[in-house]
């Protein structure tokens, strides 16, 4: 025979318990200890994240890296002798000058950070070539202790007298660990 159980669906307490509990009106109560532990851990995690200000990872640069590479095999660098690289803006500033005649496949020169384009004139061997690069920049706050820094992006070719020039990486950055610039411009020979 099944026993009939009356379920207290009204959530009313028995009279005896109601009178006992009449004295204890407690608002702040949490019976579930697991819930309390969860809340405590959660609050600790949340509070610790409030003090995160950001890391000083400096990867910005205004130095563009030019690589002379083999046109058939762009991974192969070709050393060439460049006498000088100048920019005609601002009374022909010399960005690079070879004091000792050496052949190199990689040249590092600066973009003008106050403008959106820089013209480079390469004097190498008996040739003179011009390359005009355009770019955008966006300032970024790294953190109160690191400051705001400009980041140059969207590097593109506006004018070029070399045979072929490629831009494998349009973001002008340096590697934070090695401090080496990205390979931004490939001049194919």
């Amino acid at each position: 025979m099944r026993r009939k159980v009356t379920k207290n669906t009204t959530l009313r307490l028995p009279e005896s318990r109601r009178s006992r509990r009449r004295q204890e009106k407690v608002y702040l109560r949490t019976k579930n200890s697991l819930l309390r532990a969860f809340l405590f851990v959660g609050l600790c995690v949340l509070m610790s994240s409030c003090f995160d200000q950001g890391d000083c990872v400096f990867t910005n640069s205004n130095v563009v890296r030019f690589d002379f590479v083999n046109i058939r095999k762009p991974s192969t660098l070709i050393p060439v002798v460049v006498d000088s690289i100048i920019t005609p803006l601002d009374d022909a500033t010399i960005l690079y000058k070879d004091s000792v005649v050496t052949a190199s496949a990689t040249y590092l020169v600066s973009l003008d950070p106050t403008k959106n384009e820089t013209e480079f004139i390469f004097y190498w061997g008996n040739r003179v070539d011009t390359l005009v690069l355009t770019y955008t920049y966006q300032s970024k706050v790294l953190g109160p202790d690191c400051g705001t820094l400009p980041f140059y992006n969207d590097l593109s070719i506006k004018y070029n007298t070399f045979n072929t020039v490629l831009i494998p990486n349009p973001e002008v950055r340096v590697n934070f660990a090695t401090k080496l610039p990205n390979q931004n411009v490939q001049i194919l020979l």
Partner: protein, 234 residues
Amino acid sequence: MFRYFCSIILLAVSLQLNAQDRILNDSSRLKFLPTGIRIGTDLLSIGKSYRTDYFKGWEINADADIFRRYYLTADYGSWTTNYTLANGSYSSDGRYFRVGVDVNFLLKDPERNMFFLGFRRGHTNYTDQSDYSYTYAYTVDDVKTVNVHVSNPNPYANWNELTAGLRVRVWKFLWLGATGRLKFSYSSHGQWDLKSYDVPGYGKTFKTNWWGINYQIFVRIPVREDKRPRPTEL
């Protein structure tokens, strides 16, 4: 972490669907009329405004039980920051709002204490700017320092939040609450010259997901009689 949070939400919702609601059925006319509206403010924003020199702000919170265990919730706030940087300054100023739904998991609590999980959609319109100086080497022999002013005139941003928190009745109409927020799906518009560092309502933007917390004090305004059984109505 985010996947675990989503799993918890889904599990909770599925449990909730299977659970037996013990609310008495209201008439259809009163079905979506809340029994009360809670209006409050964030104590952390007020405290932070007094205690720090880089933040000024306030936030107003409101929620209402629109249908059984579901609460419609809305927040509106002001957020102004002014950071002193190593090479200059950064400031942002704007208003923001969040709207969403909370699911109460302590429906049977006689004092209407509430443990909830919820979802919010946030939006802000603001301005920000930075003045700074930096040094660069144009040539080997020519090191220059430039002063730069950059600003975003009218950017805006949206984001989503998963929330969890408590509302605890402390005295008659007075309630205290804590809300933890996992902010995600941040999207920004109009940041051209300057990438925003601290977005009103969202916080710092250098992380994909961001946490936030509020400690709130509420006043509950009754709207209609609650037909729920109140076992410890003393």
